[in-house]
Amino acid sequence: MEKVMVKGTEAIGEAAIRAGCRHFFGYPITPQSELPEYMSKRLPEVGGVFLQTESEVATVNMLYGAACTGTRVMTSTSSPGFSLMMEGVSYMACAQLPAVFVNVVRGGPGLGDIQPAQGDYWQATKGGGHGDYKLIVLAPSTVQEAVDLTVLAFDLADKYRTPTLILADGLLGQMMEPVTFPEFRDLSTLPDHSSWAMTGAKDREPHIITSFDIDPYILEKMNLELVEKYKEIEKNEVRWEEFMTEDAEIVITAFGTVARIAKSVVEMARKDGIKVGLFRPITVWPYPYEPLKKLTEKVDLFFDVEMNMGQMLEDVKLAIGDKKPVAFYSRMGGVVPTPTEIYEALKKEIGRRV
């Protein structure tokens, strides 16, 4: 396959179309507006539907409606927009509706700014909306990976009948990189949803899709069904990358854009003879607790780097417990740390511990 130079947001859009997505609903918000713009141009070319919505609240409910019919459907937004979608995401999780969301995270909280950040990790992985639910959350760190994970997101959403989230950030969204796109998915090979989807009750009992039951014992059964599903996802879908961890004495933990910067830090440290490695969760839910825990056997220090106040840090600590120390470095508000500043912070941390 031929490599093409493409911007992160547009790459995600093209990947979605190749994955068989023909329906996109979205509302403009920086720094992801290139994605709906791309879809508005591209979807009509392949017989698809693009609709610019009146709000993110409407968007998520249009996704709910389209997903009810068993159609592959997607939206993208940025932090404040994703907050507005939370009620609908919770409904979709409970109603077991597949759909793909993209959150190109910007600085927050509140209006924040439009620069890259990772402050929505908790919202993405710990709930965000009301009630007991989880999203499958994929965190790409390169444009190529954003393409690959977009395709995977549709497959996982369909397989588990659950909303799936691509947790990107403004840097990845705006960056251009050479990528290879997958072939176009033959639409006739998309998963069969006829056993549950709302397609018209012809020669069968009506299909009812709700996130509701007034009887607490029935609702609890629905809750337990979700719990079982989430256990299954935790068992099957944990994904992560390790970079130079074989002999590492220090391991940096980071996800998304920061993990990519951290790779340079690993290389800088190695040149100086310091054995540093990188552990990068690709699924931030389900989180790779076990593989990270395994590293505690040979690693002396974990160094978590994020563009937030220490959100994934909680999961890192959950994995590592009190077995080994965990240090933390971060920038916030849309400030992207440089490899040099992370390396300096790491060296300071090592100095403190000698």
């Binding site: 609240v57 409910n61 249009m62 409606g65 389209a66 709302m198 009750a201 012809k202 009506p206 009812i208």
Partner: protein
Amino acid sequence: MRKLLYKMPESLSGKEFTYCPGCHHGIVHRLVAEVIDELGIREKTLVVAPIGCSVFAYQFFNMDGTIAAHGRAPAVATGMKRARPDLYVFTYQGDGDLAAIGTAEIMHAANRGEKITTIFINNAIYGMTGGQMAPTTLLGMKTTTTPYGRDAQKDGYPMHMCEFLKEAKGVAYLARTKVTTPQDVEKTKKAIKKAFLAQIKGIGFGMVEVLSTCPTNWGMDPISAMKWLEEKMVPEYPLGIFVDKVGDEK
């Protein structure tokens, strides 16, 4: 020979309604079901229930159905219709759902000319939550959150959805009716049919607002409630056909 003159419409599931005595939801449900039967579209129709007393509507209609988040039924219906333009989609919404929390969704679905049908029940009060002020509550009307009566200075004025929506170019059919007399029931049924035909013919958005009673939360017996509707609600909410691009039925 005995002849069958009246039966349960196929588009109703037969499940017993959960509505209070004297409530008009039951009449309107039946009318919608009769229209869907007559149009022969039950097997291709999707129902979007709201949040409110009619949250259970998806159980009463014999067709594929769901419940939208509060106020978002027009957005859910839009998603369905855009994904499956070959199917027919209708929302069934109350006044809190459609005229308060869901105002943006109904306005934009109507203005886009979304090919969906909306049945709007206006009973001037929140039923499910126990009788709070609705956007359509009349001035002076006492509710659990307007214990001194609705005061325009403090609470604003009753919301006239048909009068707002009639300006939207995407609207193909729009009417306000009531079901307090057999003649009104017939008129409402005709209006509902036209609102569906607007969708079937692909002309645009169709909505029927039905003025309805809520004896329980109005604190009245069903007959007094009908009378109150005639005397108080009709002057505030004039009946009529606001938009009709469907034309005469064949």
